[in-house]
Symmetry: C2
Subunit: 263 residues, 2 copies
Amino acid sequence: LIAQADRTTLLVAARAVIATARQVTLAHQANGFKAWTKADASVVTDADLAVESSIRDSLAERFPDHGVQGEEFPAVNPEADFQWITDPIDGTISFSRGIPLYGTILGLYYRGEPVVGVIDHPGLDRCYSAAAGLGAFCDERRLALRDLGPDDAVEGEVIGTGDRSQFLKVERGDAFDALPHHHPRVRTYADCFGHTLACEGALGAMVDFGLRTWDLAASRLLIEEAGGKYALVQQVAAPDGTMLFGVILGRPKVVDWLLPYFA
Amino acid sequence: LIAQADRTTLLVAARAVIATARQVTLAHQANGFKAWTKADASVVTDADLAVESSIRDSLAERFPDHGVQGEEFPAVNPEADFQWITDPIDGTISFSRGIPLYGTILGLYYRGEPVVGVIDHPGLDRCYSAAAGLGAFCDERRLALRDLGPDDAVEGEVIGTGDRSQFLKVERGDAFDALPHHHPRVRTYADCFGHTLACEGALGAMVDFGLRTWDLAASRLLIEEAGGKYALVQQVAAPDGTMLFGVILGRPKVVDWLLPYFA
């Protein structure tokens, strides 16, 4: 579909866009920011707006014909074949309190198929990136997920989940509450940090519900290019009409073990 | 009891000991390590042993008459007035899987009273330290916890907890399971990472049970010197005779709000 040389160029461009955005994020973390509550009750800060503006400016300069969709501003070129999707600060609750596990998400799609995915963690100085057919990376280190072998127990893995409030949004609170009764090592790793831990193999799998399109802009490509499995297990319309997604991603056998509890 | 100049010297020494230990930790993280299960079913790695050896060697060179207690080796000078207590890698499950939220804990006590406390996060490049009467710090930045004001809701804070398995050990699983029904933002932040987040004010409070002496070697001094509150809410003997502790630490009003659920 897209030549390998072009995919490489697009990956390099996405990482450059994210590197510029990271400086905006860190400046707001260091110098302070304003936070307020949006109509949908989610928290936003002027850092979210500044980081998304930085990403949009960088993309407009490099790819003026591409589409851009983000959480905070209207879509640009919505009919274009190439669509960038971004969440400037995923984990605003963490960011606004000084928990360094938030991230910036950027994904590129060509006619709906993922081409490039990046999740950057400015507070951890770690950037995860992938391009279709070219592998997944943490900074320059190639990720290679190992699936469970015949002697490996699912119980030995750590299972990550999003916040309970995300599961309540889509009526999966019961499954969230039940999971620790089925598995001994369940931890909440809210937001995209749980996704990148799954891509590392640090978690056996991550279970996350109540997500919007931009929360998931990079996850499928990252986990699949790392050698893992991505399962979309829920897709429902929120009261305001936006779609909310539920996903499980990680080592294939751990994802398969979790599916019956959430599918 | 101990002159300010001496406390300053002891704080500087503790940070130097920890800085040396950090290099040992990071070398094992980078180069690989062996892990096995101990008699008490907890996981240990050769990194735990090497880091504790580094700390013991550094302390023996500087303070040959001081006592040292650690998780992995027998006590040294158990009758001395000055006692160092260390957990070389708190969060071995995280360390062994590449979750960068583990830490090294070192505390100094004089006749049972805390003098110096350090929690280092090698994977985050952050070192938290405090000395009695001299304040608490993240690297060189002084920590100053703000308590909730009259208009601040406890519900606006994030509450951190240890792993559910830690609560089950001491029959507080019911309280762990109930907490998210009383508060909308409960997250597991296992091990000492939850303690340092509480010292930052990133969490309203951290609730942690099933802890040994060395898990808590630095937490009380760090939170109190940061302006927060430390509540010891449980003290029970494990089947093998070791004492297990339950604590809540954080902003005073959030700790007070949590006490009835766990006291």
